[in-house]
Protein backbone atom coordinates (compact mmCIF):
# COMPACT_ATOMS: atom_id res chain seq x y z
CA UNK A 1 0.00 0.00 0.00
CA UNK A 2 1.15 3.53 -0.76
CA UNK A 3 2.85 5.27 2.14
CA UNK A 4 2.33 9.03 2.44
CA UNK A 5 4.81 11.26 4.25
CA UNK A 6 2.01 13.10 5.99
CA UNK A 7 -1.62 12.16 6.57
CA UNK A 8 -3.90 14.88 7.92
CA UNK A 9 -7.27 14.26 9.49
CA UNK A 10 -9.47 17.31 8.99
CA UNK A 11 -9.21 20.05 6.33
CA UNK A 12 -10.01 23.14 8.42
CA UNK A 13 -7.66 26.13 8.68
CA UNK A 14 -5.21 23.98 10.66
CA UNK A 15 -5.24 20.94 8.40
CA UNK A 16 -5.38 22.56 4.98
CA UNK A 17 -2.57 25.01 5.71
CA UNK A 18 -0.46 22.13 7.04
CA UNK A 19 -1.19 20.13 3.88
CA UNK A 20 -0.11 22.89 1.52
CA UNK A 21 3.06 23.68 3.47
CA UNK A 22 3.96 19.99 3.64
CA UNK A 23 3.54 19.72 -0.12
CA UNK A 24 5.67 22.85 -0.62
CA UNK A 25 8.38 21.12 1.42
CA UNK A 26 8.26 18.16 -0.93
CA UNK A 27 6.15 15.75 1.11
CA UNK A 28 3.52 13.41 -0.29
CA UNK A 29 0.35 14.44 1.48
CA UNK A 30 -3.11 13.00 1.99
CA UNK A 31 -5.86 14.97 3.73
CA UNK A 32 -9.15 13.48 4.89
CA UNK A 33 -12.22 15.66 5.35
CA UNK A 34 -15.62 14.44 6.51
CA UNK A 35 -17.67 17.43 5.39
CA UNK A 36 -16.31 20.50 3.60
CA UNK A 37 -12.78 21.86 3.20
CA UNK A 38 -12.18 24.99 5.24
CA UNK A 39 -13.72 23.53 8.39
CA UNK A 40 -15.71 25.58 10.86
CA UNK A 41 -13.82 28.77 10.01
CA UNK A 42 -14.69 28.92 6.35
CA UNK A 43 -18.08 27.24 6.40
CA UNK A 44 -19.77 28.19 9.67
CA UNK A 45 -17.42 30.53 11.47
CA UNK A 46 -15.07 33.36 10.59
CA UNK A 47 -16.03 33.82 6.96
CA UNK A 48 -19.84 33.68 6.84
CA UNK A 49 -20.10 35.64 10.08
CA UNK A 50 -17.82 38.34 8.67
CA UNK A 51 -19.89 38.46 5.50
CA UNK A 52 -22.95 38.98 7.72
CA UNK A 53 -21.04 41.51 9.81
CA UNK A 54 -20.35 43.47 6.63
CA UNK A 55 -24.04 43.49 5.70
CA UNK A 56 -24.99 44.49 9.25
CA UNK A 57 -22.48 47.31 9.61
CA UNK A 58 -23.20 48.61 6.12
CA UNK A 59 -26.91 48.65 6.98
CA UNK A 60 -26.09 50.56 10.12
CA UNK A 61 -24.08 53.08 8.12
CA UNK A 62 -26.92 53.49 5.65
CA UNK A 63 -29.09 54.51 8.56
CA UNK A 64 -26.46 57.01 9.66
CA UNK A 65 -26.10 58.42 6.14
CA UNK A 66 -27.65 61.77 7.05
CA UNK A 67 -24.74 62.42 9.41
CA UNK A 68 -22.46 62.37 6.36
CA UNK A 69 -24.66 64.66 4.32
CA UNK A 70 -26.24 61.82 2.38
CA UNK A 71 -29.82 60.69 1.99
CA UNK A 72 -30.72 57.05 1.91
CA UNK A 73 -34.41 56.39 1.63
CA UNK A 74 -35.83 53.62 3.78
CA UNK A 75 -32.99 51.14 3.95
CA UNK A 76 -34.17 47.58 4.50
CA UNK A 77 -32.44 44.32 5.38
CA UNK A 78 -33.31 41.00 3.70
CA UNK A 79 -31.82 38.11 5.59
CA UNK A 80 -32.50 35.60 2.80
CA UNK A 81 -30.36 37.67 0.42
CA UNK A 82 -27.69 38.21 3.05
CA UNK A 83 -27.50 34.46 3.61
CA UNK A 84 -27.40 33.78 -0.14
CA UNK A 85 -24.43 36.13 -0.43
CA UNK A 86 -22.72 34.35 2.47
CA UNK A 87 -23.21 31.01 0.82
CA UNK A 88 -21.79 32.21 -2.48
CA UNK A 89 -18.68 33.53 -0.74
CA UNK A 90 -18.23 30.30 1.21
CA UNK A 91 -18.66 28.16 -1.92
CA UNK A 92 -16.12 30.22 -3.87
CA UNK A 93 -13.55 30.08 -1.09
CA UNK A 94 -14.07 26.36 -0.66
CA UNK A 95 -13.36 25.82 -4.34
CA UNK A 96 -10.26 27.96 -3.91
CA UNK A 97 -8.90 25.66 -1.20
CA UNK A 98 -9.67 22.56 -3.29
CA UNK A 99 -7.83 24.16 -6.19
CA UNK A 100 -4.83 24.79 -3.95
CA UNK A 101 -4.83 21.09 -3.04
CA UNK A 102 -4.94 20.17 -6.70
CA UNK A 103 -2.17 22.63 -7.53
CA UNK A 104 0.07 21.25 -4.77
CA UNK A 105 -0.79 17.61 -5.53
CA UNK A 106 -2.36 17.06 -2.13
CA UNK A 107 -4.63 14.02 -2.21
CA UNK A 108 -8.00 15.02 -0.79
CA UNK A 109 -10.34 12.26 0.36
CA UNK A 110 -13.86 13.10 1.44
CA UNK A 111 -14.90 10.71 4.18
CA UNK A 112 -14.80 9.93 7.87
CA UNK A 113 -11.44 8.76 9.11
CA UNK A 114 -10.83 6.66 12.19
CA UNK A 115 -7.29 6.19 13.49
CA UNK A 116 -6.40 2.51 13.76
CA UNK A 117 -2.68 2.78 14.36
CA UNK A 118 -0.33 5.77 14.75
CA UNK A 119 0.33 5.73 10.99
CA UNK A 120 -2.93 4.32 9.71
CA UNK A 121 -6.36 5.79 9.19
CA UNK A 122 -9.40 3.87 7.96
CA UNK A 123 -11.71 5.99 5.91
CA UNK A 124 -15.34 5.46 5.01
CA UNK A 125 -15.62 7.69 1.97
CA UNK A 126 -18.53 9.98 1.21
CA UNK A 127 -19.57 7.51 -1.49
CA UNK A 128 -19.57 4.65 1.01
CA UNK A 129 -16.28 3.04 -0.01
CA UNK A 130 -13.54 1.99 2.38
CA UNK A 131 -9.91 3.07 2.22
CA UNK A 132 -6.85 2.47 4.32
CA UNK A 133 -4.52 5.45 4.36
CA UNK A 134 -1.01 5.02 5.73
CA UNK A 135 1.60 7.66 6.48
CA UNK A 136 4.86 8.24 8.30
CA UNK A 137 3.35 11.12 10.24
CA UNK A 138 -0.25 11.73 11.23
CA UNK A 139 -1.59 15.20 11.99
CA UNK A 140 -4.93 15.32 13.77
CA UNK A 141 -6.90 18.47 13.01
CA UNK A 142 -10.49 17.47 13.68
CA UNK A 143 -11.54 20.78 15.23
CA UNK A 144 -14.39 21.37 17.64
CA UNK A 145 -18.17 21.44 17.83
CA UNK A 146 -20.69 23.74 19.52
CA UNK A 147 -21.27 22.84 23.16
CA UNK A 148 -24.84 21.86 24.01
CA UNK A 149 -26.81 23.27 26.92
CA UNK A 150 -29.07 20.73 28.64
CA UNK A 151 -31.90 23.18 29.36
CA UNK A 152 -31.95 24.45 25.77
CA UNK A 153 -31.60 21.65 23.23
CA UNK A 154 -31.27 22.94 19.67
CA UNK A 155 -34.30 22.51 17.47
CA UNK A 156 -32.94 24.92 14.83
CA UNK A 157 -36.36 26.52 14.56
CA UNK A 158 -36.42 28.52 17.76
CA UNK A 159 -33.24 27.44 19.52
CA UNK A 160 -30.11 27.72 17.40
CA UNK A 161 -26.40 27.14 17.63
CA UNK A 162 -23.74 29.21 15.89
CA UNK A 163 -23.98 26.96 12.85
CA UNK A 164 -27.70 26.71 12.32
CA UNK A 165 -28.35 30.41 12.92
CA UNK A 166 -26.41 31.11 9.73
CA UNK A 167 -29.23 29.53 7.79
CA UNK A 168 -31.96 31.65 9.32
CA UNK A 169 -33.95 33.44 6.61
CA UNK A 170 -35.96 35.83 8.75
CA UNK A 171 -34.75 38.46 11.19
CA UNK A 172 -36.21 37.65 14.61
CA UNK A 173 -38.11 40.40 16.39
CA UNK A 174 -36.12 39.55 19.47
CA UNK A 175 -33.24 37.20 20.13
CA UNK A 176 -31.87 35.90 23.41
CA UNK A 177 -28.19 35.03 23.21
CA UNK A 178 -27.19 32.58 25.92
CA UNK A 179 -23.46 32.89 26.60
CA UNK A 180 -21.70 36.13 25.69
CA UNK A 181 -18.20 35.34 24.59
CA UNK A 182 -16.76 36.25 21.23
CA UNK A 183 -19.46 34.56 19.13
CA UNK A 184 -22.25 35.80 21.36
CA UNK A 185 -21.06 39.40 21.12
CA UNK A 186 -20.55 39.14 17.35
CA UNK A 187 -24.01 37.70 16.69
CA UNK A 188 -25.53 40.27 19.05
CA UNK A 189 -23.99 43.00 16.96
CA UNK A 190 -25.16 41.49 13.66
CA UNK A 191 -28.76 40.82 14.66
CA UNK A 192 -28.94 44.02 16.70
CA UNK A 193 -27.87 46.01 13.65
CA UNK A 194 -30.39 44.17 11.47
CA UNK A 195 -33.16 45.22 13.85
CA UNK A 196 -33.62 42.46 16.44
CA UNK A 197 -34.06 43.37 20.07
CA UNK A 198 -31.17 41.65 21.83
CA UNK A 199 -30.92 40.00 25.22
CA UNK A 200 -27.59 38.55 26.32
CA UNK A 201 -26.80 36.44 29.34
CA UNK A 202 -23.56 35.08 30.66
CA UNK A 203 -22.65 33.03 33.67
CA UNK A 204 -19.86 35.47 34.54
CA UNK A 205 -20.07 39.25 34.87
CA UNK A 206 -17.72 39.82 31.95
CA UNK A 207 -18.88 39.41 28.36
CA UNK A 208 -15.56 38.04 27.06
CA UNK A 209 -13.20 36.03 29.22
CA UNK A 210 -9.58 37.12 29.40
CA UNK A 211 -10.07 40.53 27.79
CA UNK A 212 -8.12 43.45 29.23
CA UNK A 213 -10.30 45.14 31.86
CA UNK A 214 -10.30 48.53 30.13
CA UNK A 215 -11.56 46.90 26.94
CA UNK A 216 -14.22 45.01 28.88
CA UNK A 217 -15.50 48.26 30.32
CA UNK A 218 -15.60 49.87 26.90
CA UNK A 219 -17.26 46.82 25.32
CA UNK A 220 -20.00 46.73 27.95
CA UNK A 221 -20.57 50.41 27.36
CA UNK A 222 -20.80 49.79 23.60
CA UNK A 223 -23.34 46.98 24.14
CA UNK A 224 -25.40 49.18 26.45
CA UNK A 225 -25.24 52.01 23.94
CA UNK A 226 -26.98 49.74 21.47
CA UNK A 227 -29.63 49.14 24.09
CA UNK A 228 -28.96 45.46 24.35
CA UNK A 229 -30.45 44.00 27.52
CA UNK A 230 -27.50 42.58 29.41
CA UNK A 231 -28.00 39.81 31.96
CA UNK A 232 -24.36 39.19 32.82
CA UNK A 233 -23.92 37.02 35.90
CA UNK A 234 -27.54 35.94 35.51
CA UNK A 235 -27.75 32.83 33.28
CA UNK A 236 -31.02 31.06 32.41
CA UNK A 237 -31.95 28.14 34.64
CA UNK A 238 -35.09 26.91 32.90
CA UNK A 239 -36.62 27.28 29.47
CA UNK A 240 -40.15 26.74 28.17
CA UNK A 241 -41.56 26.91 24.66
CA UNK A 242 -44.49 29.32 24.34
CA UNK A 243 -46.87 30.29 21.54
CA UNK A 244 -44.55 33.08 20.45
CA UNK A 245 -41.13 31.64 21.13
CA UNK A 246 -39.15 30.61 24.17
CA UNK A 247 -39.44 31.88 27.71
CA UNK A 248 -36.28 31.76 29.79
CA UNK A 249 -36.20 32.06 33.55
CA UNK A 250 -32.95 33.51 34.73
CA UNK A 251 -31.13 32.75 37.97
CA UNK A 252 -32.42 36.01 39.47
CA UNK A 253 -36.01 34.94 38.74
CA UNK A 254 -36.38 37.39 35.83
CA UNK A 255 -38.42 35.93 32.97
CA UNK A 256 -37.69 36.88 29.37
CA UNK A 257 -39.65 35.71 26.35
CA UNK A 258 -38.08 36.00 22.92
CA UNK A 259 -38.93 34.69 19.48
CA UNK A 260 -35.60 32.91 19.13
CA UNK A 261 -32.66 31.82 21.25
CA UNK A 262 -29.02 31.41 20.23
CA UNK A 263 -26.98 29.11 22.44
CA UNK A 264 -23.28 29.91 22.30
CA UNK A 265 -21.78 28.66 25.53
CA UNK A 266 -18.51 27.37 24.14
CA UNK A 267 -17.11 24.58 22.01
CA UNK A 268 -15.95 21.06 22.68
CA UNK A 269 -13.06 19.26 20.95
CA UNK A 270 -14.14 16.90 18.17
CA UNK A 271 -12.30 13.87 19.52
CA UNK A 272 -14.92 11.21 20.24
CA UNK A 273 -15.20 8.01 18.23
CA UNK A 274 -12.17 8.71 16.05
CA UNK A 275 -9.91 6.03 17.50
CA UNK A 276 -7.78 8.41 19.55
CA UNK A 277 -8.02 6.29 22.69
CA UNK A 278 -7.20 3.16 20.68
CA UNK A 279 -3.71 4.41 19.93
CA UNK A 280 -3.27 5.70 23.50
CA UNK A 281 -3.43 9.45 22.86
CA UNK A 282 -3.34 11.55 26.02
CA UNK A 283 -6.64 13.44 26.19
CA UNK A 284 -7.81 15.85 28.84
CA UNK A 285 -11.53 16.63 28.75
CA UNK A 286 -11.45 15.60 25.13
CA UNK A 287 -8.51 17.84 24.17
CA UNK A 288 -5.42 16.18 22.74
CA UNK A 289 -2.38 17.25 24.76
CA UNK A 290 0.55 18.51 22.69
CA UNK A 291 3.99 20.02 23.27
CA UNK A 292 5.45 23.16 21.65
CA UNK A 293 6.11 21.21 18.44
CA UNK A 294 2.49 19.95 18.39
CA UNK A 295 3.67 16.41 19.15
CA UNK A 296 1.31 14.20 21.09
CA UNK A 297 2.46 11.51 23.50
CA UNK A 298 2.37 9.00 20.59
CA UNK A 299 5.45 9.08 18.35
CA UNK A 300 4.71 10.33 14.86
CA UNK A 301 1.27 11.67 15.81
CA UNK A 302 0.71 15.42 15.95
CA UNK A 303 -2.38 17.43 16.81
CA UNK A 304 -3.25 21.01 15.88
CA UNK A 305 -6.12 23.47 16.17
CA UNK A 306 -9.26 23.37 18.31
CA UNK A 307 -8.88 19.67 19.12
CA UNK A 308 -5.82 20.62 21.21
CA UNK A 309 -8.08 22.86 23.31
CA UNK A 310 -5.64 25.78 23.43
CA UNK A 311 -6.68 28.93 21.58
CA UNK A 312 -9.80 28.30 19.51
CA UNK A 313 -8.58 30.53 16.71
CA UNK A 314 -8.22 29.69 13.03
CA UNK A 315 -4.87 31.44 12.70
CA UNK A 316 -3.49 29.68 15.76
CA UNK A 317 -4.52 26.38 14.19
CA UNK A 318 -2.78 27.38 10.95
CA UNK A 319 0.33 28.38 12.86
CA UNK A 320 0.32 25.06 14.72
CA UNK A 321 -0.12 23.33 11.35
CA UNK A 322 2.99 25.00 9.93
CA UNK A 323 4.99 24.10 13.05
CA UNK A 324 3.82 20.46 13.09
CA UNK A 325 4.70 19.95 9.43
CA UNK A 326 8.08 21.62 9.63
CA UNK A 327 8.99 19.71 12.78
CA UNK A 328 7.80 16.41 11.34
CA UNK A 329 9.83 16.99 8.18
CA UNK A 330 13.02 17.64 10.09
CA UNK A 331 13.14 21.27 11.25
CA UNK A 332 13.76 20.63 14.94
CA UNK A 333 13.66 24.34 15.83
CA UNK A 334 10.05 24.76 14.70
CA UNK A 335 8.00 25.67 17.77
CA UNK A 336 4.70 27.39 18.45
CA UNK A 337 4.80 31.11 19.35
CA UNK A 338 2.76 31.49 22.53
CA UNK A 339 3.54 35.03 23.68
CA UNK A 340 2.05 36.83 20.69
CA UNK A 341 -1.22 35.16 19.67
CA UNK A 342 -3.45 37.87 18.20
CA UNK A 343 -7.21 37.82 18.41
CA UNK A 344 -9.70 39.94 16.49
CA UNK A 345 -13.29 40.24 17.63
CA UNK A 346 -15.90 41.70 15.31
CA UNK A 347 -18.06 43.66 17.62
CA UNK A 348 -18.73 47.31 16.86
CA UNK A 349 -16.35 48.86 17.48
CA UNK A 350 -13.99 46.01 16.73
CA UNK A 351 -11.69 44.55 19.35
CA UNK A 352 -8.14 43.39 18.72
CA UNK A 353 -5.71 42.14 21.26
CA UNK A 354 -2.26 40.59 21.53
CA UNK A 355 0.07 39.81 24.43
CA UNK A 356 -0.42 40.39 28.13
CA UNK A 357 -3.34 42.26 29.65
CA UNK A 358 -3.08 44.48 32.73
CA UNK A 359 -4.59 41.70 34.85
CA UNK A 360 -2.10 39.14 33.54
CA UNK A 361 0.82 41.46 34.32
CA UNK A 362 -0.46 41.80 37.89
CA UNK A 363 -0.99 38.07 38.25
CA UNK A 364 2.48 37.26 36.95
CA UNK A 365 4.13 40.08 38.86
CA UNK A 366 5.41 41.75 35.68
CA UNK A 367 6.34 45.38 36.40
CA UNK A 368 4.90 47.38 33.56
CA UNK A 369 3.70 50.77 32.40
CA UNK A 370 0.66 51.58 30.28
CA UNK A 371 -0.31 54.12 27.71
CA UNK A 372 -3.74 54.82 26.25
CA UNK A 373 -4.82 56.89 23.30
CA UNK A 374 -8.47 57.53 22.42
CA UNK A 375 -9.42 57.39 18.74
CA UNK A 376 -11.58 60.48 19.11
CA UNK A 377 -8.43 62.61 19.39
CA UNK A 378 -7.40 61.53 15.89
CA UNK A 379 -8.24 63.53 12.79
CA UNK A 380 -8.85 60.40 10.71
CA UNK A 381 -11.28 58.97 13.27
CA UNK A 382 -13.24 62.23 13.26
CA UNK A 383 -13.19 62.34 9.45
CA UNK A 384 -14.69 58.87 9.07
CA UNK A 385 -17.09 59.39 11.96
CA UNK A 386 -15.79 56.47 14.02
CA UNK A 387 -14.54 57.98 17.26
CA UNK A 388 -15.31 55.32 19.86
CA UNK A 389 -12.55 53.38 21.56
CA UNK A 390 -8.84 53.53 22.21
CA UNK A 391 -5.48 51.82 21.86
CA UNK A 392 -3.71 50.59 24.99
CA UNK A 393 -0.03 49.71 25.06
CA UNK A 394 1.63 47.78 27.88
CA UNK A 395 5.42 47.87 28.15
CA UNK A 396 7.80 46.19 30.56
CA UNK A 397 8.94 48.82 33.05
CA UNK A 398 12.70 48.28 32.84
CA UNK A 399 13.32 47.18 29.27
CA UNK A 400 10.47 49.27 27.80
CA UNK A 401 9.71 46.32 25.54
CA UNK A 402 6.10 46.15 24.38
CA UNK A 403 4.41 43.07 25.87
CA UNK A 404 0.75 43.77 25.27
CA UNK A 405 -1.36 45.81 22.86
CA UNK A 406 -5.13 46.06 23.07
CA UNK A 407 -7.45 47.95 20.78
CA UNK A 408 -11.15 48.66 20.78
CA UNK A 409 -12.11 50.93 17.94
CA UNK A 410 -12.47 51.37 14.19
CA UNK A 411 -10.54 48.83 12.09
CA UNK A 412 -8.91 47.40 15.21
CA UNK A 413 -8.53 44.04 13.48
CA UNK A 414 -6.40 45.59 10.75
CA UNK A 415 -4.31 47.64 13.18
CA UNK A 416 -3.55 44.42 15.03
CA UNK A 417 -0.89 43.25 12.55
CA UNK A 418 1.62 45.94 13.56
CA UNK A 419 0.90 45.27 17.22
CA UNK A 420 1.47 41.54 16.83
CA UNK A 421 4.80 42.15 15.11
CA UNK A 422 5.79 44.51 17.94
CA UNK A 423 4.87 42.05 20.71
CA UNK A 424 6.32 39.06 18.85
CA UNK A 425 9.67 40.79 18.31
CA UNK A 426 9.75 42.59 21.66
CA UNK A 427 9.90 46.03 20.04
CA UNK A 428 10.77 48.83 22.48
CA UNK A 429 8.79 52.03 22.99
CA UNK A 430 11.69 53.90 21.43
CA UNK A 431 11.63 51.71 18.32
CA UNK A 432 7.87 52.19 17.94
CA UNK A 433 8.29 55.91 18.58
CA UNK A 434 10.91 56.20 15.82
CA UNK A 435 8.72 54.43 13.31
CA UNK A 436 6.89 56.87 11.05
CA UNK A 437 3.17 56.27 11.00
CA UNK A 438 1.38 57.64 7.96
CA UNK A 439 -1.06 60.50 8.37
CA UNK A 440 -4.02 60.56 8.26
CA UNK A 441 -4.52 56.97 9.36
CA UNK A 442 -5.99 55.17 12.33
CA UNK A 443 -2.57 53.58 12.88
CA UNK A 444 -1.43 56.90 14.36
CA UNK A 445 -3.39 55.87 17.46
CA UNK A 446 -0.99 52.94 17.94
CA UNK A 447 1.99 55.30 17.79
CA UNK A 448 0.33 57.81 20.12
CA UNK A 449 -0.51 55.11 22.68
CA UNK A 450 3.14 53.99 22.63
CA UNK A 451 4.24 57.56 23.23
CA UNK A 452 1.67 57.93 25.98
CA UNK A 453 3.41 55.23 28.02
CA UNK A 454 6.20 57.79 28.47
CA UNK A 455 3.73 60.65 28.92
CA UNK A 456 4.44 62.22 25.55
CA UNK A 457 1.48 61.58 23.32
CA UNK A 458 1.12 64.55 21.00
CA UNK A 459 -2.62 64.66 20.49
CA UNK A 460 -3.97 63.32 23.78
CA UNK A 461 -6.13 66.05 25.19
CA UNK A 462 -6.37 66.61 28.91
CA UNK A 463 -9.50 68.62 29.52
CA UNK A 464 -8.56 69.05 33.16
CA UNK A 465 -11.61 67.06 34.21
Amino acid sequence: MFLYDIVILGAGPGGYVAAIRAAQLGAKVCIIEKEYVGGTCLNWGCIPTKAMYRSATLFEQMRKAETFGLSCKEPAAHLDRIVARNQQIVTDLRQGVERLFWRHKVNLIFGTGVVKEPGEVHVVTREGGKERVRGRHLIIATGSEPMALAILPWDHERVFNTRSILELRRIPKNLFIVGGGVSGCEFALVFGALGSEIHMSKRSKEPIKGLDRDLTRELVRALKKRRFRLHFGDPPVTAAHTDHGVELTLQSGTKVETEMVLVTVGRVPASAGLGFETIGLHLEQGSIQVDEHCQTNVLGVYAIGDVTGRHLLAHYASHQGLVAVEYALGNRSAAVVEHAVPEAIFTSPEIATVGLTSQECERRGVACREGVFPFRALGKAQAIGEIDGFVKVIAERESERIIGMHIIGPDASTLLAECTLAVNRGVTLDELGRTIHAHPTLAEAVWEAGEDVRGRSIHKLDLGL
Partner: protein
Protein backbone atom coordinates in the same frame (compact mmCIF):
# COMPACT_ATOMS: atom_id res chain seq x y z
CA UNK B 1 -28.57 81.82 45.10
CA UNK B 2 -29.86 82.23 48.63
CA UNK B 3 -30.47 78.89 50.33
CA UNK B 4 -29.41 76.91 47.26
CA UNK B 5 -28.09 73.53 48.36
CA UNK B 6 -25.99 73.15 45.22
CA UNK B 7 -22.48 71.91 46.03
CA UNK B 8 -19.74 71.02 43.58
CA UNK B 9 -16.78 68.67 43.90
CA UNK B 10 -13.24 69.14 42.63
CA UNK B 11 -14.17 66.43 40.10
CA UNK B 12 -16.64 68.91 38.56
CA UNK B 13 -19.73 66.98 39.66
CA UNK B 14 -22.51 68.82 41.47
CA UNK B 15 -24.97 67.54 44.00
CA UNK B 16 -28.13 69.20 45.21
CA UNK B 17 -29.98 67.79 48.19
CA UNK B 18 -33.76 67.91 48.16
CA UNK B 19 -36.60 65.86 49.63
CA UNK B 20 -35.92 62.98 47.24
CA UNK B 21 -32.18 62.72 47.86
CA UNK B 22 -29.07 64.04 46.15
CA UNK B 23 -29.37 64.94 42.51
CA UNK B 24 -26.08 64.72 40.57
CA UNK B 25 -24.87 66.36 37.40
CA UNK B 26 -21.80 67.94 35.86
CA UNK B 27 -20.71 71.54 36.23
CA UNK B 28 -20.89 74.30 33.63
CA UNK B 29 -17.09 74.23 33.37
CA UNK B 30 -17.08 70.49 32.65
CA UNK B 31 -19.91 70.75 30.14
CA UNK B 32 -18.12 73.52 28.30
CA UNK B 33 -14.79 71.71 28.33
CA UNK B 34 -16.37 68.56 26.91
CA UNK B 35 -18.35 70.36 24.25
CA UNK B 36 -21.53 68.86 22.83
CA UNK B 37 -22.32 65.75 24.83
CA UNK B 38 -23.25 62.87 22.51
CA UNK B 39 -23.80 60.04 24.96
CA UNK B 40 -24.24 59.49 28.68
CA UNK B 41 -23.76 56.04 30.14
CA UNK B 42 -26.29 56.19 32.96
CA UNK B 43 -26.01 54.06 36.08
CA UNK B 44 -28.55 51.32 36.77
CA UNK B 45 -31.35 52.22 39.16
CA UNK B 46 -30.59 50.36 42.38
CA UNK B 47 -26.83 50.43 41.85
CA UNK B 48 -24.69 51.47 44.81
CA UNK B 49 -22.37 54.39 44.20
CA UNK B 50 -19.53 55.39 46.46
CA UNK B 51 -18.10 58.82 47.19
CA UNK B 52 -15.01 59.06 45.00
CA UNK B 53 -16.16 56.19 42.75
CA UNK B 54 -17.50 56.34 39.18
CA UNK B 55 -21.25 56.66 38.66
CA UNK B 56 -21.64 57.53 34.97
CA UNK B 57 -19.71 58.32 31.82
CA UNK B 58 -20.16 61.35 29.62
CA UNK B 59 -18.96 61.37 26.07
CA UNK B 60 -18.40 64.15 23.58
CA UNK B 61 -16.54 64.46 20.32
CA UNK B 62 -13.48 65.46 22.33
CA UNK B 63 -13.42 63.06 25.23
CA UNK B 64 -15.07 60.33 27.20
CA UNK B 65 -14.88 60.93 30.93
CA UNK B 66 -15.88 58.89 33.92
CA UNK B 67 -17.86 60.97 36.37
CA UNK B 68 -16.99 60.64 40.02
CA UNK B 69 -19.73 60.65 42.60
CA UNK B 70 -19.33 63.18 45.42
CA UNK B 71 -21.67 61.13 47.65
CA UNK B 72 -22.39 57.52 48.59
CA UNK B 73 -25.77 55.84 48.29
CA UNK B 74 -28.15 53.93 46.08
CA UNK B 75 -29.24 55.23 42.69
CA UNK B 76 -32.96 55.94 43.02
CA UNK B 77 -33.62 57.51 39.61
CA UNK B 78 -31.79 58.41 36.45
CA UNK B 79 -32.56 61.12 33.94
CA UNK B 80 -33.98 59.00 31.15
CA UNK B 81 -34.27 62.04 28.84
CA UNK B 82 -30.50 62.00 28.42
CA UNK B 83 -30.77 58.76 26.42
CA UNK B 84 -32.38 60.71 23.59
CA UNK B 85 -31.09 64.20 24.35
CA UNK B 86 -27.66 63.93 25.98
CA UNK B 87 -26.94 67.56 25.13
CA UNK B 88 -29.54 68.66 27.69
CA UNK B 89 -26.38 68.79 29.79
CA UNK B 90 -24.98 71.52 27.56
CA UNK B 91 -28.28 73.39 27.54
CA UNK B 92 -28.95 73.30 31.27
CA UNK B 93 -26.28 71.45 33.21
CA UNK B 94 -27.56 72.42 36.67
CA UNK B 95 -31.21 71.77 35.83
CA UNK B 96 -32.72 69.61 33.07
CA UNK B 97 -29.32 68.06 32.47
CA UNK B 98 -29.18 66.29 35.83
CA UNK B 99 -27.88 62.73 35.58
CA UNK B 100 -28.84 60.65 38.59
CA UNK B 101 -30.69 60.87 41.87
CA UNK B 102 -28.97 59.12 44.75
CA UNK B 103 -30.45 58.23 48.14
CA UNK B 104 -27.61 59.84 50.04
CA UNK B 105 -26.58 57.84 53.09
CA UNK B 106 -24.71 60.57 54.89
CA UNK B 107 -25.64 64.15 54.06
CA UNK B 108 -22.49 65.29 55.90
CA UNK B 109 -20.56 64.15 52.81
CA UNK B 110 -21.96 67.20 51.06
CA UNK B 111 -20.51 69.59 53.60
CA UNK B 112 -16.94 69.25 52.38
CA UNK B 113 -17.93 70.33 48.86
CA UNK B 114 -17.75 73.81 47.35
CA UNK B 115 -20.52 76.34 46.82
CA UNK B 116 -20.87 77.60 43.25
CA UNK B 117 -18.95 80.77 44.13
CA UNK B 118 -16.14 78.76 45.70
CA UNK B 119 -16.11 76.39 42.72
CA UNK B 120 -15.81 79.28 40.25
CA UNK B 121 -12.74 80.51 42.16
CA UNK B 122 -11.37 76.94 42.21
CA UNK B 123 -11.76 76.61 38.44
CA UNK B 124 -10.23 80.04 37.81
CA UNK B 125 -7.28 79.10 40.05
CA UNK B 126 -6.84 75.76 38.31
CA UNK B 127 -6.70 77.49 34.93
CA UNK B 128 -4.05 79.93 36.10
CA UNK B 129 -1.77 77.17 37.34
Amino acid sequence: MEGDTLRISQDHVWVRLDDEGGRLGISDFAAEALGKIIYVDLPEVGAEVKKGGPFATAESGKAQVELTSPVSGQVAKVNGRLAEEPDLINQDCFGKGWIALVAVKDSAEVEGLMTKAEYDLFVAGALEE
